[in-house]
């Protein structure tokens, strides 16, 4: 793999990481957030302002960056998660606007619109990213199959019933929101390390919306679906970069194509590509059996 492909892979992994967090929030708990990009922003700016101005080494700075995101998520979560779900979604939209505009307010340090650079170069970033991606996906998968996962799915379907089993719905929601936001912070840091340049416009609501689209494309009830679609859909535009179709370059139309793809999924398979399936051995074996079956039937007819 050359640097270009490595770079794209890192980018796709960053999207997988964020979407995994969004899966915990939306897929498991049913909370729709359009402000996760703001946490990427906090993570990235927090960390690299510390490395640049306070001279803190990268790893402690990254931890502090994530901590900053956690604090913001805690405050916002505590205030908004008692509200109805659509209001929570709205507040995340507003948060998604407010945080990037803070970057401009503190232009003196963040370099505002001119973009923030001097981000340290990390060797072997691809391995670190892959490692973190695997770790995050692993963790969220475990979360899904733990008591937390069950409680989240319970509160997603019926908050009132969940409460009657002693589940503190509000606290649980705050916890998951913080978790998802911390994951977004990590993704933001990796994103900055990859680009070595960040500016406020990169973290707007379109990015948050993209995460949700990835999630629902893959299937909001399937972590596998979310991970696969986040990776593939992020990669796709760059694969389509120079593809030609009927003599017309696809480069300009790639996002349009990609919207059409998502619309087709929404119309004809609203549960997402994967529905509720997760990739596990049982599923794989069932699938192979099905294929065998189908081919067997066809053979019989022929």
């Amino acid at each position: 793999m050359n640097n270009y492909q490595i770079g794209l892979t890192i980018l796709s992994c960053v999207s997988v990481i964020t979407v995994t967090g969004v899966y915990a929030l939306t897929g498991l708990c049913g909370m729709f957030s359009l402000g996760q990009a703001a946490f990427m922003c906090i993570g990235a700016y927090g960390t690299f302002m510390l490395t640049r101005y306070a001279g803190i080494p990268l790893i402690p700075a990254a931890l502090l960056g994530v901590l900053a995101g956690v604090i913001v998520a805690w405050v916002v979560g505590r205030l908004t998660l008692k509200l109805r779900r659509d209001y929570f979604a709205l507040m995340t939209v507003a948060l998604g606007q407010a945080i990037p505009s803070l970057v401009v307010v503190f232009s003196e340090y963040t370099n505002g619109a001119l973009g923030f650079t001097k981000i340290p170069k990390v060797n072997g970033l691809i391995w670190i990213t892959l490692g973190i991606t695997v770790l995050v996906v692993f963790c969220i998968r475990n979360l899904k199959y733990s008591r937390y996962g069950r409680m989240c799915l319970a509160l997603k379907t019926d908050e009132l019933a969940a409460k009657s089993f002693g589940i503190n719905v509000y606290k649980l929601k705050v916890k998951i929101y913080i978790l998802a936001s911390a994951i977004a912070c990590i993704a933001g840091i990796l994103f900055a390390l990859r680009n070595r340049y960040i500016d406020n416009t990169q973290f707007n609501w379109a990015l948050s919306a993209e995460m949700q689209i990835f999630l629902f494309f893959g299937g909001s009830n399937s972590l596998t679906g979310a991970v696969v679609s986040a990776f593939v859909l992020k990669m796709l535009p760059n694969i389509l970069r120079n593809v030609q179709l009927f003599g017309v370059s696809m480069q300009e139309y790639r996002i349009i194509l990609y919207c059409i793809l998502v619309l087709i999924i929404l119309n004809f398979r609203p549960a997402g590509i994967m529905g509720e399936h997760e990739l596990n051995f049982r599923w794989v074996s069932r699938l192979t059996a099905k294929i065998k079956n189908a081919s067997g039937r066809n053979g019989g007819k022929a």
Binding site: D86, Y87, M91, Q97, S101, Q212, L263, L266
Partner: protein, 296 residues
Amino acid sequence: MTGKLFIQLLVNGISIGAVYALIAVGFALVFSVLKFSNFSFGGTISACAFIGFFFQKAFNQPPYWITVLVSSVAGVLIALTVDLLGFNRIRKKNSPKIYYFLSSVVFAIMIEQILTVFYGTQMYAFPSIFATTTLQIGGITFSKLDMTILAIAISLLVILIIIIDKTKLGLAIRAVAINSNTSRLMGINSSVIIVLTFAIAGFLGGITGVMLGQKYSVYASLGPSMMLKGFIASVIGGLGSLGGAIVAAILLGVVEIFATFVFGAEIVPIVLFGIMLIFLLVRPQGIAGRIAEEKA
């Protein structure tokens, strides 16, 4: 701040609030019937601005009202297309509300992208409707265009409220908004009413598009950039309430203008965030909404 300046800012705030109101009402209308926030509305507005502009250009400046009419018919068509391609099947399948929302976000991105790809390389502006753009009354400057927009917005909103409150169609829309299934038992063709609601919103979008295109210039992100404000206003107003949305939109415009004046523009998103937070904590049902409590 002098008194004159204060009034001037108030006038400015109300003018921009009127624009937000047009958008917020489009939102609130669809929300009240379908219970989701239709983000594709922003795209519809941009597209209508472009259509109005090209119509104006192609037919060598026909009377202004014809342009507005054409653009609003286009708005209706776009809204219906979006409904057909984006929401119709979701409705038939009874999928969760979140899919409508998602579908509308995808449309928002797609329409903006289509406009950017095909028309993003140039800038377009409507020819002005007034020879002189401003008017002085008692030391206060009124922009003629703003006043026109305000007048159009108010009259449209009044017409809309009359339709909703006083006509049979309005009664049907309200009934479908409350319960579309029971409405069918009353002999109301709920699907037609839903499509009609989209059409009305599209109509508003068409008019808003031309107005915005006239005020600002015509560009792909015109609608989407204004849409978030309309969205905020419709929520603060109480999701689905038209009157509330209008009040909230005007308030939002005024607050925004004063906040910009006092604190500077960068702080405004943060101020708005704070205001919304406090507002929702104090009055979670919005200005005019009611809380639907869950019954065990």
